[in-house]
Amino acid sequence: MKLFSELYKKEHILSKIDARLKMTTSLVILAMVISYRGYAFPLAIAVMSFSLCIMMNIPIRTFAFRFSEPVFIASIIVLLKLFFHGNDPIFSINIIGINISGYKEGLMDGLLIALRILGAVSVMAVMGFSTPFNEILAGLSWMRVPRGFVEILMFAYRYIFVLIEDAMVIYNAQKNRLGYSSIRQGMGSFGTLTGSLILKAFDHSHDISVAMIQRGFDGNIPLMNHKPFKSLEIAFSFILLSALGILWVI
């Protein structure tokens, strides 16, 4: 499943920065983007993040896939706002004898939200493309996210790939036996497929716990030890956040 970050940019300089710093910096920038009330800041963040993604040589297909949902939602919101919000019409279209007006205030509001979406998504994309999941988990434990939750994330992430493989085998077998040839049959097959996934999840969880207990598992997984921060990286984050803070204020 080539959707996860660590398959990509191991060698990029951003990937070598401490994950805790990247996470903290990204969260602060995210908070700035969603609390800003103008167009300039989210736009600047989107441009900066897109440039970083280009520098990281993210494949276009992956990039497009990552942004397809947010762009779709942003378009819907611009349309919603354009046609249903405001009093100052900027254009009118006639569809089968019915006049539909687009409003200036709606367009401006819609664009504001759309830019906020692009800015926020692009920040998280940069973090996702440059940080492996195990480092994110270590960062979460450093941020005092409850241990039980981090462990659940760890198990889930580990077994997503195993279960996807299982699902693909079942799906291909069903497809080869015309399991999706009609809507009714497709619904039945899909129910069986997901039911089998649940069965596999139960079986795998039993096997994992037996294996882990044999290796001394006492209910808690030791989480990663944290290395000390590098002062250069802290200074870089501080300068970046200060510069963005000034941009945010003005």
Binding site: S35, F149, E151
Partner: protein, 252 residues
């Protein structure tokens, strides 16, 4: 007044039509995307979701102290919910693809409180790596998918089983209502977040109407999927359903 009402209806129709046309490739409409909600609303949904997640984690800790295999099981269920809610399902009436949420089944099997933790984990991985949902909207998505989806799915299933509905019907209705409850809550959160100074209800109904072409049939698909899972478990491993308190020992 009447003319305004007619104009509104016509506008709604064209909005639904335009949304319909825009749904050409992907329609991951269950999660609110990163950045949509302003800071205040994001913080409020986080504050509302936090006690539910905390309760789920407390239950998880208690259960896993008694049964060491419980944490791996919850983690694997989170992986299943992740996969289910990433599966593109063709929606014939809309000519597009959307996805089920899977919290109905996790609510039925592990209870709504643990299901909240499961959906929070699945949503976080999706937000971090697929831009499906978001970190700033995580709280809102936990409320719609985790809390509402799990709770409504669980209550529907239990309610119908209490009045002696058969297993298939109870699971089918639980899947449908879990899905629709998720999408109604998402619509409410979205309308509250983007309404600005406009009134809430007209925008809420427009968002609901825009999602109907995909979510209405998808709810039925989710119902069929949930029923299919429960029936398969009942056929192959009824002992698991008893262990999860879905069935009483006498019902096998």
């Amino acid at each position: 007044m009447k003319m305004k009402k007619i104009k509104n209806r016509i506008q709604s129709f064209f909005f639904v039509l335009s949304a319909f046309l825009l749904l050409s490739d992907h329609a991951y409409s269950m999660h609110i995307s990163e950045g949509i909600l302003p800071f205040g609303w994001s913080a409020l949904w986080f504050a509302i979701a936090a006690p539910f997640v905390a309760l789920g984690l407390y239950r998880l800790k208690k259960q896993s102290a008694m049964d060491l295999s419980y944490k791996p099981l919850v983690g694997l269920m989170a992986a299943v919910v992740f996969i289910i809610s990433c599966m593109p399902i063709p929606v014939p009436t809309a000519g597009t693809c959307s996805h089920p949420c899977g919290t109905g089944i996790s609510g039925i099997l592990l209870g709504p409180v643990i299901s909240i933790v499961i959906s929070a984990a699945a949503l976080l991985i999706q937000a971090l790596f697929l831009a499906h949902g978001g970190l700033s909207t995580w709280g809102a998505d936990i409320i719609s998918m985790g809390v509402m989806g799990s709770l409504i799915g669980y209550l529907t299933f239990r309610g119908l089983r209490a009045i002696k509905a058969n297993l298939w019907l109870a699971a089918f209705m639980a899947g449908i209502f879990a899905d629709w409850a998720t999408y109604i809550t998402t619509s409410m959160e979205l309308a509250l977040g983007i309404k600005g100074d406009s009134p809430f209800f007209p925008l809420f109904w427009k968002i609901v109407a825009a999602f109907i072409p995909t979510q209405l049939p998808l709810g039925i698909l989710e119902g069929a999927m949930t029923a299919g899972m429960i029936i398969l478990l009942n056929k192959k491993r009824p002992d698991l359903l008893v262990k999860m308190h879905v069935l009483r020992p006498g019902e096998i």
